[in-house]
């Protein structure tokens, strides 16, 4: 049985940063991921990472922009930590080898991004996430003696001991089908969000909410799940991401009249208002008949106003995406986009050191909710979130590990999880296919739990998800093998996704106001007296979601009317 001071599940930016921080503190570390680490979804983060490093910038301005972006639902103590530590983290990344673009003086170059009052986004062309992820993996290879990597291992559940402390996890080696118990003093969840609950989504196929659901099932509270970000520029064709960097470099949004309609919604920031604001504006244009394309369901993103040389140098990836996936040369003609599901602001509730209310369990990155993003995340704050709180989790878990003995892990859990997988493999082919359930979930969420919501739609979604949960219990698969049985893992993932979707829906029904990404047509105003609080969902004894509330931490900035 592998035993480590710190076990990290997920190997994107948060997980790898946590592993390196914990290893640096001198404890034994294991990092596990269901895909090879460089396949993690952090690789898709395009635009950059925010840090107040310019001479005329200050982290308090970054913090204020973040608070305002969150529609005042973000916890300001956590936001202050993230923004004040951002410059140091950016420098650390530069020192270990991230190939950030430079200005003419050779210093880090900064680009404009949505919701920011200054240029403060450091970047590597439009492959920033990829560049940072690959450089962190370089460091993991360098520290191979102190960090054990378990690549292509699938965590099936978290383990609690008799005192209710998290003492490890059960996992399956995807390649061999072998099950193993991983014993650990602390477990850090870093396995991302649940964007696959939506169809379409910018998120990768692996973003199935595994960590959120697994934490939920052992009693951890899940916070802000109603806050689901729709990115303003996803390819109308198939929902792929077009980086906000495009608008940061000056691209325009145009409606069917060829007009920059953002002047009606955010006259000061125009295309660079917060994402929730821009996505709502686009959806309003589309709903009111000013959309473009054959079915009027799109908006034009016009990149041709950005100098061609600059596009080729700094937006190379979206040139490729336009060419390969939409047949459009974005340097010559506008490309059709629309709002699309992109990010889950909610997640496992943590403090500023990544600790969840379950002793021994940490979370960092999209799986977690600190909450620094509140009702709406600013572009280029997600990479920052993963790195700052990944590092802090790793450091805190290492401190904890140094002070305690290796806990006892009940071996019976291995048999339980093996039996759970066995049961799925042996199901009769009488129910629905797992893939059908996933499909129906995705289209349901995108129809009823999207940019605009109302009670009727949310209730309908709730009913459907309830039914899908029942159907999933008997849904069958085709693969009976043990080597790379992706089919059976897919069945487990659908279970996680249904849990996450249910949490999102019950939270969205509960929040009877409009704030950030949650816009209720039946409650169109923000209501601070009643709703300046986080919604927490926990799993009660019968496996049903139960709602509680927690206060929003305010340090410097009282809620005010939000205008861009």
């Amino acid at each position: 049985m592998p035993a480590h001071d710190v076990l990290i599940i997920g190997a994107g930016l948060a997980g790898q940063r946590a592993a390196l921080a914990a290893a640096n503190a001198g404890v034994s570390v294991a990092i596990m991921s269901k895909v090879h680490p460089v396949r993690s979804h952090s690789v898709a983060a395009a635009g950059g990472i925010n840090a107040a490093i310019a001479i005329d910038d200050d982290w308090t301005e970054h913090a204020y922009d973040t608070v305002k972006g969150s529609d005042f639902l973000g916890d300001q103590d956590a936001i202050e930590i993230m923004c004040s530590e951002a410059p140091g983290e950016a420098m650390h990344l530069e020192h270990i080898g991230v190939t950030f673009h430079r200005n003419e003086k050779g210093e880090l170059d900064l680009r404009a991004f949505g919701g920011a009052s200054k240029k403060r986004t450091a970047y590597v062309a439009d492959i920033t996430g990829q560049a940072i992820l690959h450089v962190l993996y370089e460091q993991l290879m360098r520290h191979h003696a102190t960090v054990d990597r378990f690549e292509e291992w699938f965590c099936t559940s978290l383990i609690l001991d008799d005192d209710g402390e998290c003492v490890g996890a059960v996992a399956r080696d995807i390649r061999s089908g072998t099950m193993e118990i991983f014993n650990a003093k602390s477990v850090i969840l870093a396995n991302g969000g649940n964007g696959q609950c939506y169809k379409p989504t910018t998120n990768a196929l692996i973003c199935t909410g595994d960590g959120i659901a697994q934490a939920y099932r052992i009693g951890a509270p899940i916070m802000d799940m109603e806050m689901v970000q729709y990115h303003p520029t996803t390819l109308a064709e198939n929902g792929f991401l077009i980086t906000e960097g495009a608008r940061g470099e000056g691209a325009h949004l145009l409606n069917s009249e060829g007009r920059r309609f953002m002047e009606d919604y955010a006259p000061n920031k125009m295309e660079l208002a917060s994402r929730d604001v821009v996505s709502r504006a686009e959806q309003t244009e589309i709903n009111e008949g000013r959309g473009v394309g054959p079915d009027g369901q799109g908006i034009y993103l016009d990149v041709t106003v950005v100098p061609r040389k600059r596009v080729l140098e700094a937006l190379r990836e979206i040139v490729n995406i336009g060419r390969d996936f939409a047949g459009t040369d974005i340097t010559r003609e506008p490309i059709m986009i629309r709002p699309g599901q992109h990010y889950i602001m909610g997640g496992v509730k943590t403090d500023v050191d990544g600790r969840t209310p379950v002793e021994g369990l940490y979370a960092a990155g999209e799986v977690a909710c600190v909450s620094v993003h509140g009702g709406n995340r600013l572009g280029a704050n997600s990479l920052l979130d993963t790195l700052i709180f990944g590092r802090r989790s790793g450091e805190d878990a290492a401190r904890r590990g140094a002070e305690m003995a290796m806990p006892h892990t009940p071996a019976s859990r291995l048999r339980e999880d093996a039996a759970m997988i066995d049961e799925i493999v042996k199901r009769p082919r009488t129910g629905r296919r797992v893939s059908e359930i996933k499909d129906e979930l995705g289209t349901t969420m995108n129809e009823f739990v999207a940019v605009y919501r109302d009670e009727d739609g949310l209730n309908k979604a709730h009913e459907i998800v309830h039914r899908l949960k029942e159907e999933a219990a008997s849904a069958y698969i085709d693969d009976y093998g043990t080597v790379f049985n992706q089919d059976v893992l897919g069945a487990l993932e659908v279970g996680y996704m249904l849990d996450c979707a249910e949490m999102t829906i019950v939270s969205a029904i509960d929040r009877k106001e409009s704030r950030g990404a949650q816009y209720r047509l039946d409650y169109p105003d923000r209501h601070d007296e009643e709703w300046l609080k986080h919604i927490n969902v926990t799993c009660d004894g019968d496996g049903e979601p139960r709602i509680t509330y927690s206060p929003v931490t305010i340090t410097k900035w009282e809620p005010e009317v939000r205008k861009y």
Binding site: V35, H36, V38, R39, S40, V43, A44, A90, M91, E94, H95, I96, G97, T99, F100, H101, R102, E104, K105, G106, D109, A125, I127, Q130, A131, H134, Q139, M141, E151, R175, A204, L205, I206, N238, F240, L241, R308, L312, E313, R316, E317, N320, I321, D324, G327, T331, R433, S435, E436, D439, I477, D478, D479, G481, T482, V483, F484, Q486, D487, G490
Partner: protein
């Protein structure tokens, strides 16, 4: 909507049987990807089809496969295009080459690709002391290494590397492109040591045969072979590393023979590669040893009339006017103050410049 038939290479290691082909028909628009086709077959017909995939947008590098015999990402190839380029209207998808197959379309990247990546000390060895703020480096240098940073480690170049087929120990295109990412990075402290290591290794930079397969294969424009050639230019020209593999001398001989004759003079190439770039090289002991050990090959070539005794004594050459034109190319390139290197992030592709 159109119908496409996929012919997938299946292999299940648990049955004890060999690999086999299996056809699935899917319904999608022609500009949807081969990956989407496979995922539809998986969702509707057979969930046991094995393929790694995640982002669907050519960023994560998971779904490297061979389509109609050519390596690419399954998500990066349109169904319509693939059908057009198939032999019989059926899109053939099989696992990548040069790596052992684990199941269906899934290969063992760890055993080959990642092992080779680890061979090149794949992390920055920073100059000391580390500054408090960022390192101040030229803007161009960071744009330059971004091309090799754009590698998504999909393995498409490894799949079809011809040198690796012959020499499985060849470090290979992906790992050498990764090496350039450090050699080209002004913040790295070990440029010379890295280059010497890669030049002296018999499976290193001079093991590449310049076949362009990896450039063709790369879905991200990394152009691994170009990075290998840049490593050679840096090692040979800038750091004057004369390797034990005679790689540097071979290149010098090659270049000066073409400059002189406008064509390659094969009988001169070998002695010069081993004994220095001069017409007198063939009389030196280093060349003699190499020539005598190559005698069987030379004899066979003479017997099969691939070379003639006359040709050896009087080498073929271009007409004078053409030789002059070739020389002019050399003069233009060598006369530049700075060596120009191809980089899509700086110069763009040909079609981008119009």
């Amino acid at each position: 909507m159109a119908e496409f038939t996929l012919r997938l290479r299946r292999y299940d290691p648990e049955t004890g049987g060999g690999a086999y082909w299996e056809e699935h028909t899917v319904e999608l628009e022609p500009h949807r990807s081969v990956l989407e086709g496979i995922l539809q077959a998986k969702a509707r017909h057979d969930g046991s089809i094995g393929i790694r995939c995640s982002c669907r947008a050519a960023i994560c590098g998971s779904c490297g496969v061979r389509i109609n015999g050519h390596p690419d990402l399954a998500c990066h190839t349109h169904l319509g295009h693939a059908k057009q380029h198939s032999a019989d209207g059926v899109i053939e998808v099989e696992p990548m080459g040069n790596m052992p197959v684990i199941k269906d379309l899934i290969v063992d990247m760890e055993a080959v690709h990642w092992k080779k990546i680890r061979r090149v000390t794949p992390w920055l060895i920073p100059k000391l002391p580390v500054p408090e703020r960022e390192n101040i480096v030229p803007r161009e240098s960071m744009v330059d290494v971004t091309q090799s940073m754009a590698c998504i480690q999909c393995g498409a170049c490894v799949s079809d590397c011809l040198s690796m087929e012959v020499d499985p120990e060849f470090i290979g295109p992906a790992a050498l492109a990764k090496a350039y990412r450090f050699v080209g990075d002004p913040r790295d402290d070990q440029h010379f040591e890295r280059l010497q290591d890669l030049a002296e290794d018999p499976h290193g930079i001079y093991d590449c045969t310049h076949c362009f397969q990896c450039i063709e294969a790369c879905p991200k424009g990394v152009a691994p072979m170009s990075q290998i050639m840049r490593l050679r230019r840096l090692a040979g020209n800038d750091f004057d590393i004369e390797d034990i593999n005679n790689g540097e001398r071979h290149e010098a001989a090659f270049a000066s023979l073409v400059k002189q004759y406008g064509l390659l003079n094969e009988s001169e190439l070998l002695p010069r590669s081993y004994a220095g770039d001069s017409p007198l090289a063939k009389f030196k002991p280093a060349a003699a040893a190499e020539l005598s050990s190559s005698l069987p090959a030379i004899a066979k070539a003479l017997l099969r009339r691939k070379v003639t005794p006359g040709g050896v004594l009087k080498p073929h050459r271009l007409p004078a006017a053409d030789r002059k034109a070739v020389k002019q190319i050399y003069e233009t390139v060598e006369g530049r103050d700075e060596r120009r290197e191809f980089n899509i992030y700086i110069s763009g592709r040909d079609e981008d410049l119009t």
